[in-house]
Symmetry: C2
Subunit: 227 residues, 2 copies
DNA sequence: TGTACATCAGTGAACGCGCGTTCACTGATGTAC
DNA sequence: TGTACATCAGTGAACGCGCGTTCACTGATGTAC
């Protein structure tokens, strides 16, 4: 039973209903199928990885014939790269939300973790996709993700530079810290993904504790040693 | 060109050389093939994941016929569970080495990171296997790894309990901290794996910094808040 | 508005291939006497 | 030590199946006049 069945449904809705009948253009229909392929892929590779997913599984889920796949993507790998793009767009949006909340030492943790929690919920599949394919995807997908994570880390390091004392924090220190924060975020997404829903609040609370510990370390940090 | 070619090589070495000719027993030969299957699998799933690996690829690499696989394992998943067992045996051994070095606040980081570095080198494939299959393996393998990581975290938390002030550290705090340390360790293994060899020293140095930050946080930590 | 032609998302048959698994087998190793 | 039988790791043919990809196609949508 294909879940996304796209090609023929709800065509020609003219006549019967009021004026807002869609009558999709060719471009709109194509975009809708493309979306359905992306969504079906995110759903299907939940249980394993992109490398274990076949083109035929995807098209069966979408409700199109296997050969129609090539109207949208060259290969599963190409499709994977599109999903990397999309997933990081949503991650970046999250970071923008954190930044917009105007973080200070007093509220940075609670506001960050709250935003993270909300986004992990609403962008659940994107987070899970990144967490998984980062280590298990096809080579090109893995390296695209590694590159994107590096960009996010650099962005985050620039944010952190504004909150820390440059006397004690080297650029390298900031990169290490943002690496840990990103790793912790991805780990939280992973944990939420692989647990039952009722455990989510505990995991979010644990993420809060993790960030607190990191930030306490950050407050007391001196690059030169343990002091 | 099969790398592990096992079945027929170097048979009947009696006569020519001195007294230490092996003349393997049936059990020894079987164990040698089993080892070759495990090693070939670790090698082959380097480039992707267990879920993308076929039984035929493995047996071709080992140099046996596909059906001979069943003399050793029921399925790729069963083989995966054996590798989980083995990988965690080597992780546990590492933790034993850290513990044996009698850590104190003064040397805990350098001695831990040194031991980690050595083990990541010598047990490179096991670390990589855990890091990858933890998120991308077949369901049974994933849950076996999650269970083993929980055990390691609990072990580590017990170690940390001896080094921290129980007034400020709850059991839950210790679990969170050891979770972060384990995550950081796995992340370091991952980073070493996916980078070129010349970058390794920088990654190890980064791991040292990460642990220092975590430990600084730990020293100053109070469960009740940022203080 | 009407007609003739171009575009192109999706179709369906066909291909050769590697897959997991079955089965009856071979022949060296191991064991009982 | 010698013989007869049991064990069992590895063999090789065969199977049905899902795979990615090719190709010529269909017919609704879009465009030029």
């Amino acid at each position: 039973m294909p879940s996304g069945a796209v090609p023929g449904d709800a065509r020609h809705s003219s006549g019967t209903s009021s004026g807002d009948s869609p009558v999709e253009s060719r471009g709109e229909r194509k975009e809708r199928t493309r979306r359905a392929i992306l969504d079906a892929t995110l759903t299907l590779c939940h249980e394993s990885s992109l490398v274990a997913l076949s083109l035929r599984q995807v098209t069966k889920e979408v409700g199109i014939v296997p050969t129609a796949f090539y109207r949208h993507f060259d290969s599963i790998e190409d499709l994977g790269l599109a999903l990397v793009e999309e997933s990081f767009a949503s991650l970046r949006e999250m970071l923008r939300d954190v930044r917009r909340s105007g973080p200070t030492y007093e509220n940075i943790i609670d506001s960050s973790v709250q935003v993270l929690g909300e986004h992990v919920h609403s962008q659940h599949d994107h987070f899970a996709f990144i967490a998984r394919e980062r280590v298990a995807g096809p080579p090109a997908v893995r390296s695209a993700i590694r590159h994107q994570i590096e960009l996010v880390e650099r962005e985050l390091a620039a944010d952190l530079a504004r909150l820390t004392d440059p006397t004690y924090w080297t650029t390298e220190d900031l990169r290490v810290l943002s690496n840990m924060i990103v790793t912790s975020m991805v780990g939280t997404a992973e944990a939420i993904l692989s647990s039952r829903p009722e455990a989510e609040e505990a995991i979010v609370e644990q993420a809060r504790t993790q960030l607190r510990m990191l930030l306490v370390g950050a407050l007391r940090w001196r690059s030169t040693g343990l002091g």
